[in-house]
Symmetry: C2
Subunit: 234 residues, 2 copies
DNA sequence: CGATTCCTTGAGTCCGTTCAAAGCCCGTGG
DNA sequence: CCACGGGCTTTGAACGGACTCAAGGAATCG
């Protein structure tokens, strides 16, 4: 247990965190329910809601986003199975969360009581999730601030394929082009054009079903303009 | 102690974290040193370095950034006194950290030993810092993905004035225009033009010393295109 | 007081947007 | 089984905001 926490670089004692009940049954329970199933496109919580709970994705895909008063939208992240979202520093949520596909969620209460039970697994997950989220946010800020439309699509496809542990070349994109656009800081039209361009270049193939993509050359997609640092591949 | 942690919405038991020594003396110590002073523009750590330590800003300003192989740079955050930076999910740093101004830092070892001593204050700070960092990252992604140059500058000035708890209207910007550009996803020229535009509009004033700004109308600066959600001001 | 560096300004270009329309899936119902 | 309808996606043409390239100005430092 200690080693696990140490692995994410934080004190082993963190493992004592509990306070959030460990789910027991795989299906929804009476009292409040530890699980929740949300239909595609339904809201999970809204910006401004009291942040009394947070969630872990069991299956499906969730998006968290912010809106400006004039309707502009920024999807800050897509959450895949295993990901934790909805944790806030303050008392209220600061993003909207919606199901992209039908999603099964594990719900955790944020309140201080109910410490008992947990063996620290969840605590470790939470910390790891926060750090991972920050890391993804940093990468995404680089994408939003400095990459071209073509690079954004290429990076997105590669990143998503890695996150879904997609082994082959075919991959399903659960979200619409509009969602991709609002995640990548582009318009739908630009997304479409960039995707088409990658297809013409032979890096990807686009089956009739537009939610599918075939990554024909992952290496080329990944090596658009490489990052410096750790995994620098020269 | 428990209440403090609960305030950030995480289990009180987190407070038991320690593992990172609490600094004792306000000046540099022999063994490894708990404090470190870095001259302006000097590197603190680089992308790819082993992430054996993390830091808290005592005074001065620090920037963390990523680079692409072709030189494009994205500053993901400026860290002000009290902020914690350099915590990583993995074994290596994934950003570069440099001092913007001369900076005094508190250095914490990440290793699992040395649990003793801390009363949980640091643990709470770490968690709060991670959540705060994530929140700022979300806001910044909205800025990078969806806001115009003028809006980016306005948002940046307001956000920075709030973070520095700048009470009056005059504010010092410790970073160069280039740093602002690389933080806001713009070019230096665009930053300069947008700043000039805000001045012409009377929202700000620009003293001869270009590192200074006078926020003549914070309300107008803040209300560019307002966020929805929690603090919605209609 | 000169030199360097940073910041600003100008002119022209380009990428992504906007506006508009057509194409394609897919579900529905005849 | 196929025609129809609606939403999503793609494509086209023109526009515009930020970028690039290039110079000029201002402040700071030696």
């Amino acid at each position: 247990m200690q080693t696990a926490l140490a692995a994410v670089g934080l004190p082993p004692a963190l493992a004592t965190i509990p306070q959030c009940r460990t789910p027991s049954s795989p299906v929804a329970e009476a009292k409040g329910g530890f699980r929740r199933t949300v239909p595609a496109e339904d809201e999970i919580f809204a910006d401004g809601d009291r942040a009394g709970t947070f969630y872990k994705v069991v299956s499906g895909v969730v998006r968290t986003c912010k809106l400006l008063s004039d309707g502009r939208r920024q999807i800050d992240a897509f959450h895949l199975p295993g990901d934790i979202f909805g944790l806030e520093a303050g008392a209220e949520h600061r993003v909207n969360a919606e199901a992209v596909t039908e999603a099964r969620l594990e719900v955790y209460r944020r309140e201080p009581r109910a410490l008992a039970g947990d063996d620290g697994t969840l605590a470790r997950e939470i910390v790891a999730s926060m750090l991972k989220g920050l890391e993804r946010a940093q990468d995404h800020m680089m994408l939003l601030g400095r990459k071209s439309a073509r690079e954004r699509i290429a990076t997105f496809l590669i990143t998503f394929s890695r996150r879904t542990a997609c082994t082959g070349t075919a991959m399903e994109l659960p979200m619409s082009r509009t969602d991709m656009a609002d995640h990548l800081g582009l318009t739908v039209e630009s997304v479409s054009r960039a995707v088409t361009q990658l297809e013409r270049e032979g890096l990807i193939a686009l089956p009739p079903n537009r939610r599918m993509v075939v990554l024909r050359d992952k290496a080329a997609l990944a090596r658009s303009p490489s990052d410096f640092g750790s995994r620098l591949v020269l």
